[in-house]
Amino acid sequence: MHKTTEVREEVTIKFAGDSGDGMQLTGSLFTDNTALTGTDLSTFPDFPAEIRAPQGTLPGVSGFQLQFGSRQVFTPGDSYDVLVAMNAAALKVNLNRLEPGGAIIANTDGFDKKNLRLANYDTNANPLEDDSLDGYEVIEIPITKLTRETLKDSPLGSKDKDRCKNMFVLGFLYWRYNRTPESTIAFLKRKFRKKPDIMEANIEVLKAGYHYGENTDTFAHSIKVAPAPMEKGTYRNIMGNQALVIGLITASRKSGLPLFYGSYPITPASDILHGLSRHKNFSVRTFQAEDEIAAICAAIGAAYGGSLAVTGTSGPGLALKGEAAGLAVMLELPLVIIDVQRGGPSTGLPTKTEQSDLLMAYYGRNGECPMPVIASHSPADCFEVAIEAARLATQHMTPVLLLSDGYIANSAEPWRFPRAADIAPIEVNFESPRKSDETEPFMPYRRDERLVRGWAVPGTPGLAHRVGGLEKEANTGNVSYDPANHEYMIKIREAKVEKIAEHIPEQELVCGKEKGDMLLLGWGSTYGVMRSVTRELLAEGYEVGHAHLRYIRPFPRNLQTLMKRYKKILIPEINNGQLSRIIRDRFLIDVYQYNKIQGVPITKSELKDHAKMLLDN
């Protein structure tokens, strides 16, 4: 039968299956392959907190969403065109967001009576067999059976054979989207080079899936998405935590400081620890501490000793680090504290995304305890933000809080990466050794014109001095209980952080009108959806602009002027309105909020509807 190829501008696919079905890997491999075709893309993994929730059940469903297109893609998509459902539960959980007329690729072997029962379907009403899926293109494939058939001669046990079934889907999708499976074959050869049986089985099944698409009469056409008009250059795919790893190592090289990373495993920040521990040839010292407190304290010790010191965590861990973060403020030592935010409070939603640690980052320490706060807005942006955090910390002698979130951490996008030589060096000055005949005593808390004290590393001749958490006398750093000195030191620590505003760029617009009816103001992972919405509103003739904050404390010096050029300000956040509060408090202006706190990103349509409602009234 002759096959045709249909060209589409954008496609969104949701891979869904049991958490043991390998959907995250399938999604990532498809993403890597997609990137190579030159389309733009954005992904969103969505998995349960349990490593293996009861098999076949609704809570056990793991998903991976990918949008790719021949124009710029800023979000993983509100809804999808294709749903891969490895079992009945995956269909049940994800059907609500499938576009009318969309395709369901269903593993019929995952719809037996047991699976139907576990997914709370009536066991006598298989959705694949009744008319409930009318209006969708249902592609039924007995994936488990075909995988077993493909591997009938393989020496693997039946469990291992069944674990290859995700490769069948992947192969089939490669055919459907006009791809070649080479990138995945290369990956499998690398990953399983020490387990040749498993490697061969996976490759065979991958090819079987591809050929299944080619050979069966069921499918009339394959689909092609043309490359997107992207800026010229060399690209790679990047995930947020990966970009933090690379950014931190780059900052280490560019500052000439050895990188020390103290951390305690916590979702979704652990991948930073994993990533850095693989790069010891860059002189990276990773330290898996006994707890969150030890992790930051070890980093403080490393900072005292002259390292580029970093600790990374997520919300609950940041709460534990509070006291030590205050010590770092008091010591005025450089330290980068990364918070990959997740749903809270308490243990909250460990695998879901949220922007709800902003107030904790801003205020969450005892005493008057100012600390710069910066935020990354996308996976690739994490690279730059990591370098910037290191720059601010070392040049202003302060801990810096870097906010990312679960969505940024685990999602991927193409990145036109820079050449190492084009990245500016980070200039770091240590206090120089003093000769023994110097009569002036060394002043560890003497400040320069930026109010920054010197970095005197233990081991430096002539600079022996004491630091600590007790209030210190200006200049000498000696313990002081003097009331006026305490107030002076509080003010000067605050002023030092505020002064950073003179050393960061002015706020610019991401896109839109320089002035007008509404400014969409955001921070963090709402970047993509806000940019998409702004683009569409502009196309519909609205006078809107989009500004996205990297620097939240201190704010860019022109932020107030910029905000005043618009009649309304809308701040969308995945929290209960935390940036909104800070903006109101700081500038005494009113802002409109759009808040969604469901552990998932804000969708384009809901934000657009809300913005239009405000604009039209």
Binding site: R236, A298, G301, A302, A464, R466
Partner: protein, 353 residues
Amino acid sequence: MTSKNISGGNNGKSQLKGKDFASDQEVRWCPGCGDYSILKQVQTVFAQLEFNKDEVAIISGIGCSSRFPYYMETYGMHSIHGRAPAVASGLKATNPDLNIWVITGDGDGLSIGGNHLLHALRRNFNINILLFNNQIYGLTKGQYSPTSELNKPTKSTPMGSLDHPINPLAFALGADGTFIARAMDRDPKHLQAMIRRCHEHQGTSFLEIYQNCNIFNDGAFFTFTDKDTKPDTTLFLEHGQPLRFGEGNEKGIRLDGLRPRVVDLKEDGFSPDDLWIHDETDLCKAQILARFFEDPTTAGEDFLPRPFGVFYASEHRPCYEDQLHEQLKVAQGQMGEGDLDQLIAGSQTWEIE
């Protein structure tokens, strides 16, 4: 090997004195506090060992003892409650050549910081931990501590404390510490010797120092420190020597299987060779010694004296920082010095023309 320079060395400078290690800050412990003696012995030993002031870092937590770094003319950090071992670990990992001393107390090290002490001991960084044990919370004015004896009436326990006390050396052995010792504030010579031994040890050395808090817990250790009672209540350990104590060393300890028994050399007809010969490298015996922990005021006939000295010292375990830096070297050997462009580009790239 990382920093030890046991001989010290001040590069030909004139001989340092203890007071050269005193900072210009007024010492503010209560008059009569045992901490004064410890400070003096530390300063004396540091001078004797010709430490270079710029290569010493003293890290403490919170509590009376933790004010220590302010009084030392070296690098120092008065960190937060219980966390000094963690700070010291990060510092040592960064700069293995530093000569690092952690100062902590029974509350700081065994209550709020118990976790960090445990992990510092098992990791075995080449650092020294001095735990000043006064069996009371002094800085917060007199609550019972994790080493306070049972039923202790204090400000927070008017009807007596209910917590079974921690045995610090048994804890340290349980954490697989590689150097475990005990000293007291009122025996300066012995304390100096123990401080010196801490320095000589490659790995984490843990020295518990009995320290009198004359304000909130005066006399907690008098039975071990007063010259009248000291001979019968204390046992000073020396490697290779029999365990002897008592006035004129007339008593000794024999091991009866795993059970230690006090014998009177004259009356029971034993020679010193019949006694338990102390072996610092014997972990099993160290565990038994650490259990010589009865309260002399309430113990019965078979009271075992409280041991002082080095219970256990082993250098079989490598230092953490040495292994950490070895891994860096191995990684560089295998993968070469990291290429930043390669790292940034990753394994798969594509061109947009």
